[in-house]
């Protein structure tokens, strides 16, 4: 899907063993190793197969509704009084977020591999809905693992998944959020490797998942780059995207990595503040370790026990991050900043009132970085914010936060 890259390109990782510098890799139980190697072979073959690419692109256009618009946000730009603010409108995709791009790619791979059952983990429920959607579209059985805490705070998405024919399994271990859902999905997968494909929702997990999820999501950045060139004749000066696992962010960033003049900022969930124990900012407040199949920055104690993440946004409530982000952080190509719950809620409301767009709480984290970045930039500078999802699913959380009874 990509043109050949220069040897010094930042876009030619992972290496053949799935490493991005010291990060990434394949830290899985032996039972899964042969399947992971199969998946890697199959993905290589699919990438080289024009029919696979054609089917992927056809579905993105006619089923997902791509390309998503690149929109200039005039009132938010005026409000912050600095750089022009543009939105990449991933929230207009079918199912309401960027997640569907990846699910289309992975289900085509599952079908190529002859797998008949699909499993996935979900936090906010966006990936669960997207997975249930593609399973319905292709007639495969679908089981979604979701932390019981998230089941309670994301009821509309739980019902959506059920309408789409998925079985939703509430996971009660740990804090019963995204991390625990992923543990349970891995346990189920290890016992059902022969017929089951695991559609991982973010650019994390064992190789080749971080690579293939990134590749499927890179349609975001490729479109944004072409759209910006067509509209303004130039590249943007800065990209901003929210980062939980980081699939929307790597999808936007990756096609621009070799454009040295394009700055990139990933926004982590600062929860109640990175100086408290209640946040999900693994780069800002964590250190490298091994979890869920990859080496990456993790929230952990001195013994390597994983600590619970917190974010008002269920989609960011995870103690790790995709390994390519850990690498981009260490080489300094991308800056990562935390934004706390209250800042995100404020930015959510501002976007509603100034642009008539209800953003997902995940995306509101990216919007909340604007007051720290946009006013310091000249008015001829351009920022693209990845509006990764729509906020309909979050209205109950926001109402609760604002003390409004629905």
């Amino acid at each position: 899907m990509n043109a050949p890259l220069a040897p010094n390109s930042l876009r030619n990782l992972p290496d053949e063993n799935g490493h991005f510098g010291q990060f990434g890799g394949r830290y899985v139980a032996e039972t899964l190793m042969p399947l992971i190697l199969d998946l890697e072979r199959e993905y290589k073959a699919a990438k080289a197969d024009p029919a696979f690419k054609a089917e992927f692109e056809d579905l993105l256009e006619h089923y997902v509704g791509r390309p998503s618009p690149l929109y200039f946000a005039p009132r938010l730009t005026e409000h912050w009084g600095g750089a022009q603010i543009w939105f990449k409108r991933e929230e207009l995709n079918h199912t309401g977020a960027h997640k569907i791009n990846n699910c289309i790619g992975q289900i085509l791979l599952a079908i190529r591999m002859g797998k008949t059952k699909i499993i996935a983990e979900t936090g906010a429920g966006q990936h669960g809905v997207a997975t249930a959607t593609v399973c319905a579209r292709f007639g495969l059985s679908c089981t979604i693992f979701m932390g019981a805490t998230d089941v309670a705070r994301q009821q509309p998405n739980v019902f959506r998944m059920k309408l789409l024919g998925a079985e939703v399994v509430p996971v009660t271990s740990g804090a019963a959020t995204l991390k625990d859902a992923m543990n349970e999905a891995l346990r189920h997968w290890v016992a059902n490797v022969h017929d089951t494909f695991y559609i991982i929702g973010t650019a994390a997990g064992p190789h080749p998942y971080p690579e293939l999820v990134r590749d499927f999501q890179s349609v975001i950045g490729r479109e944004a780059r072409a759209q910006m060139l067509a509209r303004t004749g130039r590249l943007p000066d800065m990209l901003i995207a929210p980062v939980g696992g980081g699939s929307n962010a790597i999808g936007l960033f990756h096609p621009f990595l070799d454009d040295a003049d394009v700055a990139m900022v990933g926004i982590e969930a600062g929860g109640h503040g990175v100086d408290t124990n209640a946040h999900a900012a693994s780069l800002t407040g964590g250190k490298p370790g091994i979890l869920h199949g990859n080496k990456t920055y993790l929230l952990q104690d001195e013994d390597g026990q994983i600590t619970e993440a917190h974010s008002i946004s269920a989609g960011l409530d995870y103690p790790g991050i995709g390994p390519e982000h850990s690498w981009l952080h260490e080489i300094g190509r991308v800056k990562y900043l935390p934004v706390n719950d209250d800042e995100a809620v404020e930015a959510f409301q501002l976007c509603c009132s100034l642009e008539g767009i209800i953003p997902a709480l995940e995306s509101a984290h990216a919007l909340a970085a604007l007051p720290k970045l946009a006013p310091q930039m000249d008015k001829d500078k351009i920022i693209i914010v990845n509006l990764s999802g729509r906020g309909d699913k979050d209205i109950f959380t926001i109402a609760d936060k604002l003390g409004v009874e629905l």
């Binding site: 830290y27 042969p34 543990n183 346990r187 016992a191 091994i290 979890l291 869920h292 013994d303 994983i306």
Partner: protein, 266 residues
Amino acid sequence: MSARLSAAFAKGRPALVTFVTGGDPTPDATPAILDALVAGGADVIELGMPFTDPMADGPAIQAANLRALAAGTKTATIFAIAKAFRARHPDVPLVLMGYANPMIARGPEWFAAQCQDAGVDGIICVDIPSEEDSEIGPALRAAGVDFIRLATPTTDTARLPAVLNGSSGFLYYVSVAGVTGKQQAAVDSIKDAMDRIKSATDIPVVVGFGVRTPDQAAAFAAHADGVVVGSALVDLVATHGADAAEPVRALTAALADAVHGAKATA
């Protein structure tokens, strides 16, 4: 290979390998439970290092991990338990089993040195396959600590040499594709797997996952160099808490009788 592990597999009969989670239900209760395993006749002791996210474990051992952590079990606690065990039982092989992150948190060299100091004979790490050996393998080998790998029903003949390369002490054959303590493999599948693996290596091969009763243990032991029992013992700890030592000893004794006599009656 550690001399203690060599001796454990050179008794002319299959070995009983027993697993309990360190610090479950409390760090203070673990030494008596380990002593009960030895008193019952276990040949190799696996001491589980608790982890917050035990992805390869079923409900019984998941709960044991969380009980141990809730009781304040730290990495230092595990090594203190191991060191005291070594002082009480100079000849019984002791193996630590767990997940990668707690093992590498202070660097693999630190971990290997702690193992050496505490008299730990080997390490089983669930989520470091042979592809990622460099994460901890060189440090363990330099410290003379066996790195015990796992093979599974999905490890085919082509892949087996890679799994065996760098593996020492013994090989742990996971009898079912799944998590600990759940379903049980058919004896025929064990026999086929053992034939395949034994033709590729000289190191002892033990079978585990889903073995709960003396009868099951004996059936597997007839085809292997040893059998691992974990969840059934961990269940006793869950039920009896700080008073678990005697029931653990009794089950271990029954398992040991069955396993040790398996080849003679097969």
